[in-house]
């Protein structure tokens, strides 16, 4: 796990003009230690990433990531395309396992339980997490069946229990009022934003410990995006949320903590307010202000 390092102390002062060298060093494949603000380590972590590396075939996509994801908080992963933020997110619930060529080193802990230890029941593990994808991906069935899907595959048969799960999840996803009269209609008939909130309802139907969101608004218009962001705000505290976003404003609006990644490395990780107002690294500031990436 990465903690405060020598680099950290050096850059407590205003960013050094020669900061770009670090990104250049990463690009050359040099070793690099992330800058993690001490505030992160004071939080209670739901999820802990420990020295995690990942390869797609011969290509190394994640380099020794160490992160603690605070409980009940919203943590945003930002960084230019291809920096590995989605890969990291998809490693948390082991969706990447579906690809034949993926190989990993290191481990993650979910409330102290190893995720990657041999013999872990992946299906059981995934039930402890909910995931929302970039594009809304409702299943080809009714709204109702979509929401109760995680409970159905658990073998839940009771109508009352399922109906209760459906209503509670849809209410939490701020969708209940819009679809309560059309629960039996195909989920495909909803608008894009409604579909995405439906997917959120589905993700929280099984009461997960962590909610993973992979650019949940990138396929939505501004109004739908706004609704989703408000929803994330309401879910804060109840779930530990890890969200990947390309949108700096979204990260600053919705998240409590932000991690900046570059080419598979964690670069800087700290409270969102600090990271956006006074980042410790020049590179982070450049990225946030749009000077590169």
């Amino acid at each position: 796990m990465n903690t405060l390092t020598a680099t950290d102390t050096l850059t407590l002062e205003p960013p050094a003009p020669a900061g770009d060298d670090r990104l250049a060093a990463i690009a050359r494949g040099g070793q690099f230690d992330a800058v993690v603000h001490p505030a992160v380590d004071r939080e209670d972590a739901t999820l802990e990433v420990r020295d995690f590396c990942l390869w797609y075939g011969p290509k190394k996509a994640l380099h020794h990531i160490g992160m603690r994801i605070p409980r009940g908080k919203v943590t945003a992963l930002i960084g230019p395309s291809g920096c590995g933020k989605s890969t990291l997110l998809r490693s948390v619930n082991r969706i990447n396992d579906l690809l034949d060529t993926v190989r990993i080193e290191g481990d993650m802990l979910l409330n102290g339980d190893s995720i990657y230890a041999p013999g872990v029941d992946v299906i059981e593990l995934r039930k402890r997490m909910g995931m929302v994808f970039q594009k809304p991906n409702p299943f080809p069935m009714s709204v109702y069946e979509n929401v109760v899907y995680p409970r159905r595959i658990d073998g839940e048969r009771s109508r009352a229990a399922l109906a209760e799960v459906c209503e509670r999840s849809l209410r939490r996803a701020a969708l209940w009022d819009e679809v309560k009269d059309r629960l039996q209609e195909s989920a495909m008939s909803l608008s894009g934003g409604q579909q995405q909130r439906l997917c959120i309802a589905r993700a929280i139907a099984a009461e997960p410990e962590v909610l993973l969101m992979d650019e949940p608004c990138s396929a939505l218009d501004p109004i739908a995006t706004n609704k989703i962001e408000n929803l994330i705000d309401e879910l804060r505290g109840r779930y530990t949320i890890l969200i990947v976003t390309h949108n700096m404003q979204q990260a600053s609006r919705t998240s409590d903590y932000t991690a900046f990644m570059y080419l598979g490395h964690l670069v800087e990780y700290g409270p969102t307010a600090d990271l956006f107002r006074k980042p410790r690294l020049r590179e982070t500031e450049d990225y946030i202000t749009g000077r590169f990436g």
């Binding site: 995934r126 994808f133 991906n137 159905r152 195909s186 495909m188 608008s191």
Partner: protein
């Protein structure tokens, strides 16, 4: 020249850059394809639908004094001998085979002295000997003329026709159902003797008991036979009292028993509505009746039924296997050279000539599997094969093998078209692989799977070559489904529309009469397949609406 600046010279835009020729070329290709399809359909529809229409009966008197009467089947122009241009000659369907020895006759226009359409020219469709053309002369009751002019003879015919038909139906019921039942009882007692002999040995106690039982059953059965024969004789005697005497164009007179007449009409007297009624009645017989006259007359119901049943059994066999194979290939198997090899093999299987499957089906299903079944379960029946010959089941399985690649390829394609995001969404909910397949992938892929099934069904329904080896026959005495337990008889050979077309077109002794029937049966087969496709398209559209539409 003026001093104005000339526009800069440009190369003219190349013809191919404008693309006009390509539009014409591709559009022309499409037009050609459409024209061919439309031509094919038009030919089959026109030829197929006029076959059963009651055309006018023409009587011509020839220069040599003979007279010919019949329906004009077709006409053609032939080079004249005298050198005064081509001469038209017409083919008359003259019938009256037992008198003239031929069903059709060519008549050149130059030989004709007079032509007329006699009001009382009657077309009689009979159960044997083909059609009879003649004018009603008298109605014979017990051999004596009860009416002796056309109108009153015809009236008496109309009066007695239905009663005769009713007695015929009763006779048929006695023959096929009641006598059949007695025969089956005797046969099963005989089989019991045979299997007691096989199991316990000749002369053992169970064998002797079975023999005694058989003798009792046989005695009883023979008595029953005699009783039924008596009733049939009585019906025959009653029917034989009624005869219609007809005079041919040549002046012959022929008395036809009413029991032999399937349908009689005088087309020249009929109005349009009456003609339509005859047309409809012929179509009804065509669709629901059994064939007569070496398949060139009567109906095709056994073939229609056999085709439909064989196709259904085939689909039941092929769809589960094809879908399972495709699921494994697409969802479980790791992509690699082996999977690619299997895929290539499947695609090659689709290209194997169908007769090869027929040979395989004959060798494997009929002889090996069927032979084993016969030895194991139907030993008492040997040397008569039960399953060890061509039959409906073996045909269906052979065609299932033939259409397996179609189902696999179509299913694989539709599985590949299911977005991965849906699978991921399901896995992220904690679903297992099979749960994801069953609840997400299969419903979404269902329209595509259905398309594959329909393609396979259409291919199977139209296939003929392998069926000739594994079970389709020219004339099946019994349907594969009847009221005798176990009701479905998959070991029976059956009739098939495709084979029926082949048989009519190339094997018929009366080829001129069979020719129009070829088109009619083809029309029916095309209609059947069109109907199948229509159902598939509608079903797919419904499923698509349910599962696939949406904003994303």
């Amino acid at each position: 020249m003026s001093g104005g600046r000339a526009a800069p010279r440009r190369e003219r835009t190349a013809l191919f850059a404008q693309g006009e020729p390509m539009i014409w070329l591709t559009g022309g290709g499409l037009a050609l394809a459409l024209a061919m399809i439309a031509g094919l359909l038009a030919l089959v529809v026109v030829q197929g639908s006029v076959t059963l229409w009651p055309g006018p009966v023409t009587r011509v008197e020839l220069n040599d004094g003979r007279a010919v009467m019949g329906e004009v089947a077709r006409s053609e122009s032939v080079g004249a001998t005298g050198g005064d241009g081509p001469v038209r000659r017409r083919l008359f369907r003259t019938g009256n085979f037992e008198l003239t020895g031929e069903h059709f006759q060519w008549v050149a226009d130059s030989d004709i002295r007079a032509e007329s359409r006699p009001e009382w020219a009657l077309v009689v469709e009979r159960t044997a000997w083909g059609r009879f053309y003649g004018a009603p002369q008298a109605f014979l009751l017990d051999g004596r003329a009860a009416a002796s002019d056309p109108a009153s003879a015809w009236a008496m015919y109309e009066q007695h026709r239905l009663a005769v038909q009713r007695r015929l139906r009763e006779r048929q019921r006695l023959e096929s159902r009641d006598i059949g039942r007695v025969n089956r009882r005797i046969e099963s007692a005989r089989l019991a003797v045979k299997s007691a002999e096989l199991r316990h040995g000749m002369g053992s106690v169970p064998h002797r008991e079975a023999v005694a039982r058989f003798e009792a059953v046989e005695r009883q059965g023979l008595a029953e036979h005699a009783r039924l024969r008596g009733r049939i004789e009585a019906l025959n005697r009653e029917n034989a009292r009624f005869q219609l005497a007809l005079a041919t164009a040549d002046g012959w007179e022929q008395a036809i028993p009413l029991a032999d007449i399937v349908r009689a009409c005088a087309p020249n007297r009929l109005g349009l509505a009456a003609k339509w009624a005859v047309y409809g009645s012929r179509w009804l017989e065509f669709l629901s009746g059994a064939p007569r006259e070496a398949n060139s007359e009567g109906g095709v119901f056994p073939a229609l039924f056999g085709t439909a049943l064989m196709t259904v059994v085939m689909s039941v066999a092929v769809v589960p296997f094809g879908v399972m194979a495709a699921l494994y290939l697409r969802e479980y198997a790791k992509a690699g050279p082996l999977v690619s090899l299997v895929r290539i093999a499947i695609n090659n299987l689709a290209g194997v000539p169908s007769i090869v499957f027929g040979v395989f089906g004959l060798g494997f299903f009929c002889y090996i599997v069927g032979g084993w079944l016969d030895r194991s379960f139907f030993a008492a029946n040997l040397p008569n094969p039960t399953f060890g010959k061509g039959g409906l089941l073996w045909s269906a399985l052979t065609l299932a093998l033939l259409t397996l690649p179609v189902v696999i390829v179509a299913t694989e394609e539709s599985l590949a078209a299911v977005p991965n995001s849906m699978r991921e969404g399901s896995y992220a909910c904690g679903a297992g692989k099979w749960q994801t397949i069953r609840r997400i992938v299969l419903p979404r892929a269902l329209p595509g799977i259905l398309t594959g099934t329909i393609l396979a069904m259409a291919r199977g329904a139209g296939e003929v070559a392998p069926l000739m080896l594994v079970g389709a026959v020219k004339l099946a005495p019994e349907l594969p489904v009847d009221a005798v337990a176990p009701f479905l008889h998959p070991e029976r050979s059956f009739m098939h529309l495709g084979f029926h077309i082949f048989d009519l077109g190339f094997q018929s002794p009366n080829s001129e009469a069979a020719r129009p029937m070829v088109f009619t049966v083809t029309l029916l087969l095309i209609a059947l397949i069109f109907l199948l496709n229509l159902v598939a398209v509608l079903l797919r559209a419904r499923l698509k609406k349910k599962f696939v539409t949406g904003a994303f």
